[in-house]
Symmetry: C2
Subunit: 439 residues, 2 copies
């Protein structure tokens, strides 16, 4: 039925709150069997190193590397991929990379310090991570744009060595992904994937170096392996399905809005596309556009399943109510298809990325506007941020007390340490008290 | 035997690398039984709310709250704790709080943006988390300084509501902790703990509000519960035992260095204190100080177990070798008890906090120097940072394309999206291409 392709809702509906909660509900599958399999893979790679990685690669990726050295793609092969891709694709990748780099340069944080009147120095020294692992899924869902978005912030931060891993099922290598890696400055590439790749990066093997942090998306085995190594190695967030929330005043071409919703829905059937508008007649027109344009889409089946299962066109009272709803949803992507979108920013509390105005569809941000497309999903924008240079830098506190500064602080520390019954702390501080002679 | 109290090592030893690796080895106990118990608690609190929290509090904390309302400490009671503590303790807490606040103000990050020549706007909007939960362990290991260190950065960030939870086994309430909470600006306090408190904060109950992030240390049940809610709520790191690495040129009073090592060791028997010095005779003198001063310590038993199990006095070739070792260890606390410590900073890559000079014992940083005492342990300083204001702020990317900017970006996005077979992305971008008439 045409009219059931995408849900229609109104904030005036009596059951709106319940219906919205149900619409947004998403819980990543946690599968005990997967957990056990992954734990076994992690333990074996940790104990046996390369031999285990070779065995799992043969078993899970259906190709047989001759030896551990054959797991690495030589740099000449990576350069060849770059040399051989179509010129227009290479130009597009290079343009995107340059814009991503320029934007991320603004995120680089610098060390800072200040000196108090008595000479005491306080501050933070900021340094880059030494070695980072980048997971890139294999097969058809291999995205060169994702290589750029994950690798460039790391290199801008000053990471010394960036190790990419990507499975090559049945030996299939994606040339555009290799080209993107070359442009982004990836240092080494290994053709491994799954939990065995996460294990190799987290613990190191004879051939694969141990890294300090692992970033990049992956399937349930990869996500479960990341969960299991949590704590021993740095991690990015574990992403849920992608979502977009569009707020439109009713004055954008409805075909544009329909296509913006499609661009999210085509990722996979769990992706979520929601439109909020105070204009009921405009919602009708968008629905008509959806019905008219959908059959012509290459990924029409996925889009249909996504829109009917998780999409909605929602009538709101006004733009303010739409913004309040948006803050409740904390969307990964928020598109403000209105006049003067910038004026709405102070009212937006939680969103991964905010696309302002009718000329800013999410697709531009996905590829080349500059900001990162790795964004917090499933409401986690309430507490997390887009991937950025700051994810590849870390801080060390700096404390350098002058003799007089130490003496003043020691008086306070002594009282508090004794209040906590930590008397060695107190005595350590008290040694630095200046006597009458010293002062 | 006196000479076996603390290990002596030298980087010149043939087996030094192996011995160091063994000394540093630490893996947090993961206990499947605890995992199952915690999963049960989380599920029940999620399903039954307050009723489950009341039941678990009675069972695990050995006191019987009358009803859910009795789980909250009224603000008048908190204020009374502040009014009634000793004046010198109150002054010390207030002085420490003021210094912590002043330091953390330097960490506050501001929104930024820039406009390109064609009018396109790019940037990041930075906002505070709305609601944060602070876990404070109960019983004897309840530290008011920890309340200040966790709460103040959140309030400096602008967090709207800070909810503290702390179990009160057998109904015991720590007055100094309540006073610290009042000074730090904690908004509400609930007397709950364990996995049930983490569950209540992560999912919310009728009486206890759901938070966006949970910070603060806890026992294995708390740590396991945090691991299990990972992803649905923001978390700080899960801390291992505390450690200090002291580098000394041999010119500091050996009693001072011994006491600095004690101040770490007194935390618990798993704490780690290591001294590096190029002066073998100085190591002898520190060892003598340890033997002489130890019997007089209030927590001598814990210190003895910690030093004999995990401590070491290590002879190094020179200060440069000590710094290289420090980068390998990535210590939580690094004390540079040398002349001109600041000049060594460029050589330090990984450390949670760096204490510079003979007048900067770690104890001053633990209480009142200003920087945070919540620091990355067990080598995680390789990829993580001290707790800070940045942990309570998050970013939203800003993208606002002008019509001409969008048209240029659409050309690039179209090529890349088609390269990834995401044609709805391509079409969404292509709608924004300007025709010849528009340009």
């Amino acid at each position: 039925m045409a009219d059931t392709l995408i849900k229609r809702m109104s904030t005036a509906d009596a059951d709106f709150d319940v219906a919205l909660t149900k619409l947004l509900d998403w819980e990543s599958a946690s599968n005990p069997t997967v957990g056990d399999v992954v734990a076994g893979v992690l333990a074996k790679v940790r104990a046996e190193g390369d031999a285990a990685v070779l065995e799992f690669t043969q078993r899970f990726d259906a190709w047989q590397p001759e030896n551990a050295a054959a797991l690495e793609i030589p740099s000449s092969r990576i350069q060849a991929a770059l040399d051989n891709i179509d010129a227009d694709v290479r130009t597009a990748l290079e343009t995107a990379a340059e814009r991503i780099r320029a934007y991320h340069l603004h995120q680089r944080q610098e060390s800072w310090s200040y000196r108090e009147a008595d000479g005491t120095l306080l501050g933070q020294q900021i340094t880059a991570l030494e070695r980072v692992g980048l997971y890139v899924p294999g097969g058809k869902a291999t995205y060169p744009s994702s290589v750029l978005m994950n690798a460039i912030p790391a290199k801008v931060a000053g990471v010394d060595e960036l190790i990419m891993v990507s499975p090559t099922p049945k030996g299939f290598v994606n040339e555009m992904v290799l080209a993107a890696a070359a442009i982004a400055g990836v240092d080494r590439i290994f053709t491994i994937g799954g939990a065995q790749a996460i294990a190799a990066l987290a613990h190191g093997t004879e051939s694969i170096p141990k890294v300090d942090k692992i970033v990049g998306p992956g399937n349930i085995f990869v996500a479960t392996a990341k969960r299991q190594v949590f704590g021993s190695v740095g991690l990015d967030m574990i992403a849920g399905p992608s979502e977009i929330l569009v707020i439109c005043d009713g004055k954008t071409d409805p075909d544009w809005i329909a296509m913006d919703l499609f661009s999210q829905a085509e990722h996979d059937e769990d992706a979520q596309s929601i439109l909020l508008s105070p204009d009921a007649e405009f919602l009708d027109r968008v629905e008509a556009s959806i019905l008219r344009l959908l059959p012509d889409l290459e990924r029409a089946d996925i889009v249909r399943r996504s829109l009917s299962g998780r999409g909605a066109l929602v009538l709101v009272k006004d733009i303010d109510e739409a913004l309040a709803l948006s803050n409740r949803i904390a969307p990964e992507h928020l598109e403000l298809s209105v006049d003067n979108a910038e004026q709405l920013l102070p009212k937006i509390r939680h969103a991964g990325a905010i696309f302002m105005g009718r000329y800013t569809p999410e697709a531009l941000g996905d590829y080349c506007a500059g900001p990162n497309h790795v964004l917090p999903t499933s409401g986690t924008a309430r507490f997390s941020s887009p991937l950025g240079v700051y994810d590849f830098q870390k801080r060390s506190s700096l404390i350098g007390c002058s003799a007089t500064g130490a003496s003043e602080l020691a008086k306070v520390a002594s009282v508090l340490a004794r209040g906590e019954s930590l008397t060695a702390h107190a005595r350590s501080a008290e040694y630095r008290l200046l006597g009458e002679d010293d002062e």
